[in-house]
């Protein structure tokens, strides 16, 4: 009990902002020092981070484990593919403009159904809904291309100001798209940071900690969970929208339940009790999976071992373990 009594550090966000600025500086410099492949990987990492951050609003802050967030990622991805195929302008801004409202409406709709329950029932509902979407993507092959999926051409950025063709088109696209995704990531991180530190975010954490008491504060629990679900799904959907142009192709794999599992894994890896956990998790997981796939046929076994180790040894994830180590270090310094 005594060990838990620790004074939270000042409410000032200044040290945090300084650390964030330093990380951002490093990220801005990456394309100058690394090759296209590494930059491409990092874009995948940033996108996974956005997906996991959105997911973690539900798990870490609302106490609801969704096992169907692939649905929102996938709906984002497929929306872009449909837009690219049927509506014409291959512009990233246009994709976002059409995609965001659609993932928002989808999340609101499915969320409305899912938040009727909590715990395992909630998890099963989210899973079931995502599997329905997956089946639709598989079976409606004349619309979705079935298991072959849909191709998405490289879009122009910044309202057509930047388009990419010719021999170096791919390299140019990757470099500029990296900054594009980085900028959107920063916006997403800031938005979510404000949300979790807003009165609404505090209410979510209250509901997570003690639902009964939250109700006796006059909070309408289900409504809060619903809004949280809606925001969470929308951010994960934005990640899906950003992912397609990079991947050039969307297949039903991103709607399958194992993909939801990867999002859960990502949040656990980084640490779902910390705001920054899913960001670290997203980037680390992307590299981990890429190198595991490249080095062994049994990569799933390797990831499985990592997951088991994580749950047993680092239940608070990478960021949780690091912040605890940092705390101990400070305490030891304070003691001597």
């Amino acid at each position: 009990m005594v060990a838990q009594v620790q004074v939270l550090r000042g409410r000032s966000a200044l040290p945090l902002a300084a650390a964030a600025a330093a990380v951002l500086m490093v990220l801005i410099l990456v394309p100058s020092y690394f090759d296209t492949y590494q930059v491409q990987l990092l874009i995948y990492g940033l996108i996974a981070a956005i997906a996991a951050l959105g997911f973690n609003l539900l798990l870490g802050y609302t106490g609801l484990l969704s096992f169907g967030h692939s649905a929102y990622f996938g709906v984002g991805a497929y929306t872009v593919a449909f837009v690219a195929e049927h509506l014409g302008p291959h512009s990233m801004e246009f994709y976002l403009l059409v995609g965001i409202p659609i993932v928002a409406v989808t999340s609101a709709l499915f969320g409305y159904i899912c938040v009727r329950h909590t715990q395992i029932f909630f998890g099963i509902l989210t899973l079931a809904i995502s599997q329905v979407i997956y089946s639709l993507a598989m079976k409606l092959y004349w619309v979705t291309g079935g298991s072959d999926g849909l191709r998405v051409p490289r879009p122009a950025l910044l309202f057509g100001a930047l388009s990419f063709s010719g021999p170096h088109g791919f390299q140019q696209f990757i470099t500029l798209y990296y900054y594009y995704v980085l900028a959107i990531s920063v916006v997403c991180v800031l938005l979510l940071w404000v949300i979790v530190h807003s009165p609404f975010g505090k209410a979510l954490q209250g509901i997570r900690d003690n639902e009964v008491r939250a109700r006796f504060l006059g909070l309408r629990i289900r409504r809060f969970r619903w809004i949280s679900f809606f925001v969470s799904g929308t951010f994960t959907g934005v990640a899906g929208i950003l992912w397609v142009p990079l991947n050039g192709l969307t297949t039903p794999d991103v709607l399958y339940w194992t993909y939801s599992g990867e999002i859960v894994f990502t949040a656990l890896l980084g640490g779902f009790r910390n705001f920054t956990g899913p960001i670290v998790g997203g980037i680390v997981f992307t590299y981990l999976k890429t190198y595991a796939v490249a080095s062994t046929e049994y990569w799933q076994l390797l990831l499985g071992v990592v997951l088991v180790t994580l749950v047993l040894v680092l239940p608070t994830g990478i960021v949780g373990a690091m912040s605890r180590a940092g705390q101990r270090l400070r305490q030891r310094r304070g003691a001597t």
């Binding site: 404000v194 009165p199 975010g201 209410a203 954490q205 008491r213 006796f216 504060l217």
Partner: protein
């Protein structure tokens, strides 16, 4: 003046009549103690009035307005708040945030997500003021899960008090703490509650505490009221003493 009244309120769990046709009255401004042995129906009565449970039959009237079928949220809006027998806090949030969340909820600001909670100066001032009243200001930044038991009991009351209720139910605010702390907690609670002109109904087992702080005492036994009176009247009631305590009262 009557603030709250129940009419023939009944609640049965299986064969057990937890509330057997209760006509309970709370007067404005009083500090009322609800006493009785375990299983007498005290907590059930509070659960019914706070909408934690639905009655089988009967009515609940708040200043002659029938609130029997209103929701928890509506009852809180009407001014009925409660604390919990087993401390019920938001352990992951700071002590400050526990109280601030009450204030946000009361002012309908809890749905706001576009501004930082700490930047709301009005809420911040009010939450710190309530914490100060309960002697918890120095612990504002500590996670609620890291407080000592006595402080947790006080915070539980502070969270309910920050809703600015007209009628506050406190379910055993001193259970599970030492005798010495009991007095401290009750001193604090009664002075804040009386200072804020809040009507309070306290469930309490310790008869010393009950006699010392109450304006009126209501005794329950097996779902019914056994006695109702001032501390002096209850003290003089020999039947009550022998039934409830199994021994004559001293002091």
């Amino acid at each position: 003046m009557i603030l709250l009244k129940t009419v023939d309120l009944r609640k049965q769990f299986g064969e057990t009549r937890a509330c057997d046709g209760l006509n309970f009255v709370v007067h404005k401004g009083e500090f009322l103690s609800l006493v009785g042995s375990n299983g007498a129906g005290k907590t059930t009565l509070v659960n019914l009035i706070s909408a934690h449970l639905q009655p089988d039959s009967g009515q609940i009237l708040l200043e002659d307005r029938d609130i029997t079928f209103t929701t928890v949220t509506e009852r809180i809006k009407a001014g009925i708040a409660r604390s919990f027998q087993i401390v019920s806090l938001f352990d992951g949030l700071s002590v400050f945030d526990n109280v601030a969340l009450s204030v946000f909820s009361r002012e309908g600001k809890a749905v706001k997500m576009a501004r930082l909670a700490d930047h709301d100066e009005d809420v911040r001032r009010e939450a710190l003021e309530v914490l100060g009243q309960f002697g918890l200001a120095s612990k504002a930044e500590v996670p609620a899960g890291g407080l000592a038991q006595g402080e947790r009991k006080l915070l539980d009351v502070a969270v309910a008090y920050a809703l600015r209720p007209r009628l506050l139910f406190l379910d055993e605010p001193t259970s599970g703490v030492s005798t010495h702390e009991k007095t401290q907690i009750m001193d604090t609670v009664s002075s804040v509650v009386r200072g804020g002109m809040v009507t309070a109904v306290v469930i309490e087992h310790d008869m010393d505490v009950v006699f010392r702080y109450s304006d009126r005492i209501v005794m329950m036994h097996e779902g019914a009221f056994l006695a109702d009176g001032t501390p002096d009247e209850i003290r003089a009631n020999k039947d009550v003493a022998s039934i409830l305590l199994g021994a004559p009262l001293t002091g």
